[in-house]
Symmetry: C2
């Protein structure tokens, strides 16, 4: 059932303006009716492929005129239902805005169109000896990463997407173009609408360009991997490394079950134990050597065993294998099952408690979950799985998830460290930010008085 305002006249108007860029094809609409979440797909009435900022401007002008919902779309990798057009209308695909517009190596910044993926940007930057550090894992677009304030394994050292977008250019519903933030490294000029737009999940407008921060590729890098008797011990080791100001580039923990799954999946014989990865970098060999000496010492002190080190790029990639394959290994182990990944983040010293509490909930309900943790940030993901049709089981899983969030909020933490709210966490957001939800709604209305931008998301 199409959106009430998606009349034949409206269709004709879009067709006239966009020609082949405006698609009503079922297959195209299906592709834009879902993301990587478990949410029920909803097809948009049409998909509009923007090839330029002017296309975005015209699309948002027409959408406002016809009061038609618009959901921005780029790589399709969101995982909380952000991309699902629950009220129909247009899916505005900006993946065609895929140009790196300017790289200023001496200013450590690049300006890109919103559809560029971070992997593609990094491929183009390699020859400059620079990189964009936010690494959420999926083949995400920079516009999408900004929209959900994505982060991932390198956030412990470089922060989130919000910390790494200096400026952005966006089109508001109605077609007005605004430039937010500044290309300088810091600014105190007026309200931070840049930061507000980042993490707004497409509910305020559509980003077309981003100016992002770049960093010199570190000259010397090493990775340590160690295993522990318990997951809490691994988390405690991570806390010790953070306290020693060693500034790890990455600090990742997985549980024994994930290692076992990787062993099955790839035919390896990694020690089946909670495993911690520690990546360090420095500008000189000597500086790195000093850092590693202290890291080894702290690791041994906190009970880390099976310590393995890697220095060359190839060795490092090999050493990371079990971490990188963990999610695929778990999903492969349970064919036919559906998966749900949580995204709690708590103040660092609460992490061991939080992990232990989660384990006790799982034990009590006989639910199997596997843990991957960005443990330098206090952020960890539990992946739960069950037969998609086993409603009772899913109810139990959601019950555990609810209790986890309740505890995280008691600890001053958040229901989502890096995945965003989308459809899935609207109830949880109300628990977390009930006192400012009305304020968020008023801010939304200031940007989008007609309520056409990604309606039904966040709140």
């Amino acid at each position: 059932m199409p959106h009430a305002n998606f009349t034949e006249t409206v269709q004709a108007a879009f067709q006239e303006r966009f020609g082949a860029g405006f698609s009503l094809a079922e297959a195209v609409r299906e592709q834009h009716g879902r993301d990587e979440s478990r949410e029920t797909p909803v097809l948009p009435d049409a998909v509009l492929f923007a090839q330029s900022e002017q296309d975005v401007i015209d699309a948002l002008q027409m959408a406002a005129e016809y009061r038609l919902p618009v959901v921005p779309w780029a790589a399709g990798s969101s995982i909380e239902g952000q991309l699902i057009p629950v009220q129909g209308g247009l899916s505005l695909d900006v993946s065609g805005l895929n140009q790196v517009l300017e790289v200023l190596p001496g200013s450590f910044q690049a300006t890109v169109q919103a559809g560029v993926t971070y992997a593609e940007l990094n491929r183009q930057l390699r020859r400059e000896g620079l990189f964009f550090p936010v690494d959420p894992g999926a083949e995400a677009s920079l516009g999408g990463m900004a929209s959900t304030n994505a982060s991932g394994t390198a956030a412990v050292r470089y922060g989130t997407t919000r910390d790494n977008v200096l400026a952005l250019r966006a089109v508001l519903p109605g077609g007005e173009v605004v430039n937010l933030g500044s290309k300088a490294r810091k600014t105190a000029a007026g309200y931070d609408l840049r930061g507000l737009f980042i993490g707004a999940e497409g509910t305020l407008g559509v980003m077309t360009e981003l100016t992002v921060r770049l960093y010199p590729l570190p000259a010397h890098v090493a990775v340590l991997r160690a295993s522990f008797d318990s997951i809490e011990q691994g988390a405690a080791c991570a806390a010790l490394l953070m306290g020693a100001a060693l500034q790890p580039e990455r600090l990742e923990l997985i549980d024994a079950g994930e290692v076992a799954a990787v062993n099955n999946y790839l035919g390896r014989d990694y020690a089946v134990a909670p495993t911690l990865w520690m990546e360090f970098a420095a500008a000189t060999e000597e500086a790195l050597s000093g850092t590693l000496a202290l890291a080894r010492e702290l690791c041994a002190e906190s009970g880390g065993g099976n310590l393995t080190e890697a220095h060359t790029e190839a060795e490092r990639a090999a050493l990371w294998e079990a971490r990188h394959k963990a999610y695929y290994a778990i999903t492969a182990q349970h064919p036919g099952h559906a998966f749900l990944t949580t995204d709690i983040c708590v103040p660092l010293e609460r992490l061991p408690d939080m992990v232990a509490y989660t384990a006790s909930l799982c034990r009590a309900a006989s639910v199997e979950g596997s843990l991957v943790g960005h443990v330098g940030d206090g952020n960890f993901h539990m992946t739960f799985h069950a037969d998609p049709d086993d409603a009772a089981r899913w109810q139990t899983i959601h019950g555990i998830y609810d209790q986890m969030i309740a505890r995280a909020l008691e600890y001053g933490g958040t229901c989502t460290g890096e995945h965003g709210v989308g459809l899935h966490k609207k109830g949880h957001l109300a628990r977390q930010h009930g006192d400012s939800l009305e304020l968020m709604r008023r801010v939304k209305a200031a940007f989008d008085p007609l309520g056409i931008m990604n309606p039904g998301k966040i709140f």
Copy 2:
């Protein structure tokens, strides 16, 4: 002339509620009628000394009821007129909210009341081996620093105040209390109203508590100081250090005139040349030694001479002397003069151009200005001075300032890197963010529909 709504009935109501905390004394009002800017003082009708969050709630409830302007006040150290109650009404002094409420060393965070100064917080943190890194120089309060998104010499390594406030508690006009952000290190839960409140210069509400990020005091620290033939050469050296990923803790440049002034002021014989300070830190002696070796090499390569090093805390403090005394030395050299400090920030590789352009403007107009630069951030301050009554001279100075800002905006930079807009830069903000000013006004109205929070500031 009191604000029209500041009637005798209203006065009596405040007196009844706040007793001695509500002051009409001329001397108290005078103290709250100015800040450290050159703007003309305006006395508030009354000063209200809050001793608790409840005082702030009641004050904002009554202010809304009586439609009375409110200007939040803490340390009085703003420098763009932010604190001047241009429409009269209440100056709400929160310096009595001066408690460090909680330090969580294992989570690298502290929760403080908004009137706590960063110096006081750091005194209390020393025994924990932790520190709060934002260091704007003045004896500023954390609430005030958040309100202007202050930064200073350590921003090159640790970012601005916005980057270091995880969560805050604020009272909105009308008395409603909201908790913004999360005590976790990262969050993707809804709109970033925390970041919006930071840098809003008291126009959205009054902060009462902040949860700030802490860092381990680095175990090994060293400072290098070098002098250069030209200021551009010093800036180029700074860029080289940034490109080598040496992660300096501070990177500060001053011009030859400032050194000469310090020599006069303190009877020293520092080499009268552009001078660069480079501070580095590491977790181990070996790591620091590796960093310093490369830093020395890059410094020599870019023409740095008179290289001096300091390792102990006392030596380091002594080495920094000329930088720390620069502003006082300049002001002492021109008794009776008034001073104006600019705050431009540009993409890093534009800094040498920007500095050269500024020097050419000064030469052409025969105006003397002295430069202090946070050169790792692309942010520098020119201090101009003249007889306060020499209107023609001040017009020339403001003409130079205008041209500097025009050039900075062409370069994608900002009219204010860390001081904020206040009264002084409203015109400049309109040039910089003309396309989103209306959006800022709508956001303001979402928080403060009556327009009573620090009216007349920013836009």
